[in-house]
């Protein structure tokens, strides 16, 4: 009896879990292992703003019941950071000094929030929102009716902003070229979209450039953003919102091609015959655009995971992203985006 094929998925987000479910459906006997740096079972990251609507227990945001992993015979390896992948030997090395062998590897490691170099010193004073822990920490840092200073305002950040407005907080948005990321906005459209933001209740501050983040003085709000040329903005929490960069560094040296993200063909296959990639981590060749491009949003990443999984198990499917990726203004004058559907 031959040993079952070991399919390893790096990443516990929507792409990785979509892939796992599809793999299990198509190959009931294979071994499936999901690897994540996180500490929790699968939850939908796009859903985290629920933290501001009374959801404080991670058990309430899980996508699957805990019995899912046993029922589906999927192994979940948490707190496990991959430090090295060897494409030839087909081994993965963890930071905790364990080696794992794979037959097929799907990299769905997603992306992390980008922070410009000039602000990297102040990372410790800013709040993220890319994990349950970060979300709860942010929630606790905001006093009732408190204010968040958002730098940039990508669609993930703006999604959070609208929940914050809705639950009685204030949002001060310092715009820059990442505002509305990943949408590409034409100059003449910009004013309209900015007005939509204002219409949603967001206080928009244009044309300023933050150079530092400091702790506020006693009696004042907890954070102080220092602007270029003097001037300051005070708020309780500062959140960078500059779009995502793929989490692909650990794949360096594995043998696959990497640009900003992992480069894959339209079937999500990397240059290594046993490695695929899906989700925010990969750039897919687009013959149309004659370049490698990203696809974002819950619908896209989930679908990518499923397509990759089908291709791992013998299919030859081409990934096709959303038809319409445009940013719009709805009938209420509010922003609307396909990336907000989840």
């Amino acid at each position: 009896m031959g040993e079952a094929i070991h399919n390893v998925i790096i990443g516990n987000g929507s792409a990785g879990n979509g892939a796992a479910a599809t793999l299990r459906e198509r190959d009931p006997d294979c071994r499936i292992t999901i690897i994540t740096m996180g500490s929790l079972p699968f939850y939908n990251r796009y859903d985290l703003p629920r933290v501001f609507r009374g959801c404080y227990d991670w058990r309430e945001i899980l996508v699957h019941p805990l019995s899912y992993y046993d029922d589906q015979n999927i192994t979940l390896r948490r707190n496990s950071r991959v430090t090295d992948v060897d494409g030839r030997k087909r081994t993965i090395t963890f930071a905790h000094n364990e080696t794992m062998h794979y037959d097929r590897l799907l990299v769905c490691a997603g992306g992390q929030g980008y922070l410009p170099e000039e602000l990297s010193d102040y990372r410790g004073l800013m709040n993220g929102f890319n994990s349950f822990e970060a979300a709860i920490t942010t929630y606790k840092a905001l006093p009732a009716g408190g204010s968040m200073i958002m730098l940039g305002g990508d669609m993930i950040g703006l999604d959070l902003a609208r929940t914050l407005i809705d639950t009685g907080y204030k949002v001060l948005l310092l715009t820059n070229e990442y505002t509305f990321w990943p949408h590409r906005i034409a100059d003449d459209e910009r004013e309209g979209f900015i007005n939509a933001l204002k219409h949603m209740g967001i206080e928009v501050i244009d044309g300023v450039h933050p150079v530092a983040v400091e702790e506020g003085i006693a009696g004042k709000p907890a954070r102080r953003v220092v602007l270029d040329g003097g001037g300051e903005i005070l708020g309780d929490v500062v959140m960078p919102s500059y779009g995502l960069v793929p989490t692909a560094e650990f794949m360096l040296g594995s043998g696959v091609d990497i640009e900003r993200g992992m480069l894959v063909d339209p079937m999500l296959h990397t240059t290594d015959e046993n490695i695929w990639a899906a989700g925010d981590v990969c750039q897919i060749w687009s013959a149309e655009d004659n370049t490698y491009r990203f696809y974002y949003g819950w619908n896209n990443v989930r679908l990518m995971g499923e397509v990759a999984a089908r291709n791992v198990t013998g299919a030859n499917e081409t990934f096709k992203g959303l038809d319409d990726e445009r940013l719009r203004i709805d009938k209420n004058g509010h922003l609307a985006s396909p990336f907000w559907e989840y």
Binding site: L40, L66, N97, E98, E133, T137
Partner: protein, 593 residues
């Protein structure tokens, strides 16, 4: 089966060289100092030398608990190879804390993260790194992990620092400083961690008792009871798991004016104990089943000669050499009946550590008052289990209870019979009290006699005098817990198993079953009236005990002529609360049907 309020059980697992037991020791003492109630039990490696698995389990509660839980809330791994098989012991939403940067290269599955279940919360800590940065060595990993625990769960670090200082006070100051630095470094790390589990430490309920609270094992409590009861002489022979009684008394008793001698075997130990009792001293020995078997002949001499003696027996797996490091309750038959002839003696069995203290002291009162041997039964689990106890302010034990010879001289009758069947006793050194004690049957003067009426009369005297023990003052010979009046299921029990029985009874009550439990502390003479009254109230009676034959069940059924349902286990480990509860449910359902 959680108690109300705080109820958290920690399990620290590592190899013998990791300081696993020391970590558990500091943890339980710190928690006791903070005012929590603590039950703790350590498992040591089977071999004496070097390596091997150690587990230290510590359960802390605000309400009194009576046993360890089957599922721990937090598992701390100091060595994954030993901890991995125990990951299943952690409950859902409990925590597993482990080294995140082990030194050795591991094959797939060699790290504990491969085994943590999705419902459990993993906490990776760079324990070795923190230890090296704080103390320039990896030796303090166990202390780092304690600091991390305190930081993670918001436990006041002051108590830990005090216990660490006390623990290392005989070593150089640098050692204490190093360990404190390791603790503090772990504490800062733990404090900064985002807590994902649902383990919450509430404040202790009875803070004012914290000063009077002390932590003891069953054997330690026996030692304390002996000293408080004025033990004069102790003779012992090493045998697992009673050896620590000999060793602790050897160190402590001379400070209180007593004398300890390690003898050449168990027969010599009990013989010297009886010789000292004859000479008027409060005297005792301690052993386990195999030693008690050797002592059986001598116990008969103590009975026949009406000489006081006390034997502490910590039961272990039998028969014969058996399982020296496993717990069992299979020496009841030997304790009650062992020895030639109709040689009844007093047999007592405490159910918890506080009971060990009380029963130990009272044993000397009874031996002296009823001029008889008293066998006190513990078991390996109770002997080695730590519990927080509050010792009484005043010494609760009485001295000089023996009926002394009033007027002696020629014709003094050492074995004179009377209403209470207890004869006035002369002690060597007393004028006018000269007599010879013999193992032969004898008349009231103590002279050997094989006359028929004499033997019957003397047998009666020796048996009837013990009935007063059933009314011995300030001593609980049996006690009922739980629902009053008629109940569906009653549970009888003895020894440490009664802890698990109580917890099962509480759980059964929570499920709506009318349930009551009775502990039997005096096993000989048996409190027949009280047990019968209890059984009258019970629709059916369950008797769980850790032996194969159902020794107490047989004893009770034989004495009362009434059946009980046995629940016997001889696995070498304490019974599980869940096993007893399942049986209670089954009996309750059978009754309903």
């Amino acid at each position: 089966m959680n108690r109300k309020g705080t109820d958290i059980q920690f399990a620290i697992i590592g190899s013998a060289g990791d300081g696993t037991i020391a970590a558990g020791d500091i943890l339980k003492r710190a928690m006791a100092r903070l005012g929590y109630k603590v039950i703790a039990f350590d498992i040591y490696p089977a071999e004496i030398r070097g390596f091997g698995k150690c587990i230290s389990r510590v359960r802390i509660t605000t309400e009194q608990a009576y046993s360890l839980k089957r599922h721990s809330d937090v598992l701390i791994s100091l060595d994954d190879s030993y901890a991995i098989p125990h990951v299943g012991e952690v409950r859902d939403y409990g925590a597993v804390i482990y080294e995140s940067s082990p030194v050795a290269r591991l094959a797939e599955g060699g790290h504990i993260t491969a085994h943590i279940k999705p419902s459990q919360l993993p906490y990776g800590v760079q324990v070795r790194g923190i230890s090296e940065r704080a103390t320039a060595s990896a030796r303090s990993r166990n202390i780092v992990v304690l600091g991390y625990l305190a930081g993670l769960y918001g436990i006041d670090p002051k108590a830990f620092r005090e216990i660490i200082a006390a623990k290392f006070r005989t070593k150089a100051q640098a050692v204490t400083d190093q360990n404190t630095a390791a603790f503090d470094a772990g504490f800062e790390t733990g404090k900064a961690v985002f807590k994902l589990d649902d383990i919450v430490l509430g404040p202790p309920l009875h803070n004012k008792e914290a000063e009077k609270t002390t932590m003891m094992t069953g054997n330690g409590a026996v030692v304390r009871g002996c000293i408080d009861a004025g033990l004069d002489t102790f003779f012992g022979y090493p045998i697992t798991p009673a050896t620590t009684i000999l060793e602790r008394l050897a160190a402590e008793l001379p400070k209180h004016g007593g004398r300890v001698l390690q003898t050449e075997d168990e027969i010599s130990a009990i013989a010297a104990t009886i010789g000292a009792g004859y000479a008027g001293a409060r005297s005792a020995t301690a052993t386990s089943g195999p030693g008690l078997a050797l002592m059986a002949e001598m116990l008969g001499l103590s009975v026949m000669g009406e000489v006081p003696s006390v034997v502490f027996v910590s039961q272990r797996g039998g028969p014969s050499t058996g399982l020296p490091t496993k717990t069992e309750q299979s020496d009841l038959n030997l304790a009650v009946f062992g020895g030639a002839g109709d040689a009844q003696r007093i047999v007592l069995a405490p159910t918890n550590v506080d009971g060990c203290y009380r029963t130990a002291g009272k044993a000397f009162e009874m031996a002296e008052q009823y001029q008889t041997p008293v066998v006190v039964l513990l078991d390996l689990y109770l002997s080695n289990r730590y519990e927080t106890v509050v010792l009484p302010d005043k010494n609760p034990f009485s001295r000089n209870l023996d009926k002394q010879m009033a007027d002696g001289g020629a014709g003094y009758m050492r074995f004179a019979d009377s209403d209470d069947h207890i004869s006035p006793r002369a002690i060597p050194g007393q004028e006018g009290g000269m007599h010879t004690v013999t193992g032969l049957e004898h008349n009231q003067l103590g002279k050997p006699s094989d006359l028929p009426e004499n033997h019957e009369a003397m047998n009666a005297k020796r048996h009837l005098k013990l009935e007063a023990a059933l009314r011995h003052p300030d001593f609980t010979i049996c006690k009922r817990f739980g629902d009053e009046g008629p109940v569906d299921v009653g549970v009888l029990g003895w020894g440490s198993t009664f802890g698990e029985i109580l917890e099962a009874m509480f759980a059964a009550q929570d499920e709506g079953i009318r349930c009551s439990a009775m502990k039997v502390v005096m096993l000989s003479p048996l409190p027949k009236d009280q047990i019968a009254a209890f059984m009258d109230d019970c629709g059916t009676v369950l008797l769980p005990e850790l032996n194969y034959e159902g020794q107490l069940a047989n004893l009770v059924s034989g004495a009362l002529g009434r059946p009980v349902t046995k629940l016997t286990r001889s696995t070498g480990s304490p019974m599980q609360v869940e096993e007893i509860l399942a049986e209670i449910r089954r009996l309750a359902q059978a009754r309903a049907a």
